[in-house]
């Protein structure tokens, strides 16, 4: 799994951090998403998929694959 985030779209709602705190964080200055891990461990995939699903700004893109 490969994860990318779009900082321009992000509105800092923090849903992704709530669901997958090991993969996502938010910048100190403006709360915009920070990708901690672009290739998360398999046991985090489910949480990352859910984060992309509930992100209100469609700012998280996932490419499934090895």
């Amino acid at each position: 799994m490969k994860v990318t985030v779009d900082e321009d779209r992000c509105c800092g709602a923090g849903q992704c951090v709530l669901l997958a705190p090991d993969v996502f964080d938010q910048r100190d200055e403006d709360g915009i998403v920070v990708l901690l891990d672009p290739a998360p461990r398999p046991d985090l995939h489910e949480a990352v998929r859910e984060a992309a699903e509930v992100c209100p700004a469609a700012a998280i893109e996932i490419a499934e694959g090895p």
Partner: protein
């Protein structure tokens, strides 16, 4: 036939369920025409999938001053806009980003001990005070008010003044003039406080805004307006979730027992999501206007037409939430739309979640015999309010 008037009425005896007429529209299709007080006939968007898509669509505007915006009341000259909630990007995003950092998930989670202390102190006061008591006045309104004081950086000595003015804004039997006066008082109070923070900055939200005022990114009055937005958006909403949530749990004693007897933080977190879904207190819908033609199924929303996304019925959409009318604290309700969707999705949602988690995991455990001190049909519901809830909740223990 003229379009049915929106908002519709809830059924007698079903204070927690959305109006049956709105549910009927949902069965018929994703879009329906409804009538507003001013004779306009915007679209009611009925289902979860279409609401999500439209709230995230950049062709959909939140700007109340655009022709066609389905306003819930006459728009006073000069507009009603309090800061960025009724603006579009890029201006919305520019302003929202100035106050997003303090609401970031991990920053908010660090406030847990402070919020726990606020809630514990209020429960101590409840237990030491009169019994029965009105839970709204004695507990539900003070919790978010004290939390926002902490976050904004309102000095302790001013808490009572701040709480009194903010209560006036949400009380029943308050005239429009009194309400406007209370808003004005808060605005000038916050304006002065921003001035104080410019001279004596501290580690709080208003000091952060004061720095931006000094840097010329924001005027002092814009900063004060943001302070008022944060207070208004987070006060009555959170308070109503506390009081109405408590009442819903009284009416579902097995669920109340489940929550009270569990010390599992994941159950508490899922209970908060489920109560947000089930109660969806922002019952007048997200209001928007289309800025381009947007096809939805085999219909087309035309540019300039108003849209009302009724999140309450989307949260009872059986496609997404099986057996939607059952309050089930164990279900996975995280896809609810109680905080909206798209770039306006609630900025304070992580704070609201935390406040509710602390309240729901503290109040019923510390007062295990807490119960309603009147009949359900005597409870005054906020049918007419922009945010649904109860005006009063007499409780005893």
């Amino acid at each position: 036939m003229s379009a049915e008037l929106f908002p519709m009425r809830r059924a007698p005896g079903c204070p927690f369920d959305p109006p049956p007429a709105a549910r009927a529209k949902q069965e018929e299709g994703p879009l329906a025409r409804v009538g507003l007080w001013d004779g306009s006939t915007p679209w009611l968007v009925t289902r979860h999938a279409e609401q999500r898509a439209l709230m995230a669509d950049p062709r959909v505007s939140a700007d109340i001053t655009r022709p066609g915006y389905p306003s819930s009341a006459p728009i006073p000259p000069g507009g009603t806009s309090i800061s960025f909630i009724l603006m579009d990007d890029p201006e919305h995003g520019r302003l929202r980003r100035m106050v997003t950092a303090p609401f970031a998930t991990k920053r908010v989670q660090a406030l847990r001990p402070a919020i726990q202390r606020i809630v514990d102190d209020l429960v101590d006061e409840l237990l030491a005070g009169p019994n029965p008591v009105d839970l709204v006045d004695a507990f539900a309104l003070p919790v978010p008010s004290l939390v926002i004081c902490e976050l904004l950086g309102v000095p302790y000595a001013d808490h009572e003044y701040f709480q009194d003015s903010s209560k006036t804004i949400v009380k029943r039997d308050v005239s429009t003039e009194q309400r406007t006066a209370a808003m004005g008082k808060l605005m000038s109070y916050l304006d002065d406080l921003v001035g104080t923070k410019m001279e004596h900055p501290a580690d709080d939200l208003l000091s952060g805004l004061a720095t931006r005022v000094e840097a010329g990114e924001l005027t002092r009055s814009e900063a004060a307006q943001m302070g008022v937005l944060l207070l208004i958006a987070g006060h009555e909403t959170t308070a109503n979730m506390i009081a109405l949530g408590t009442l819903a749990l009284f009416e579902n004693p097995d669920q109340l027992a489940l929550l009270r007897d569990s010390d599992d933080p994941t159950l508490v977190a899922s209970a908060v999501e489920e109560l947000l879904r089930y109660l969806n207190i922002t019952h007048s819908g997200r209001r928007r206007v289309a800025t381009a033609d947007i096809p939805v199924g085999d219909q087309v929303i035309r540019a300039g037409e108003g849209l009302i996304m009724a999140n309450d019925i989307a949260n009872r959409d059986a496609e997404v939430f099986p057996d939607p009318d059952r309050l089930d604290l164990r279900r996975d309700a995280r896809r609810h739309l109680a905080f909206g969707f798209g770039v306006h999705q609630c900025l304070g949602q992580q704070l609201a979640r935390l406040e509710l988690q602390v309240v729901y995991s503290t109040l019923y455990r510390r007062i295990p015999t807490l119960e309603l001190a009147t009949d359900l049909d005597k409870v005054p519901f906020k049918h007419d309010g922009a945010v649904y809830g109860v005006y009063e909740l007499p409780v005893r223990w």
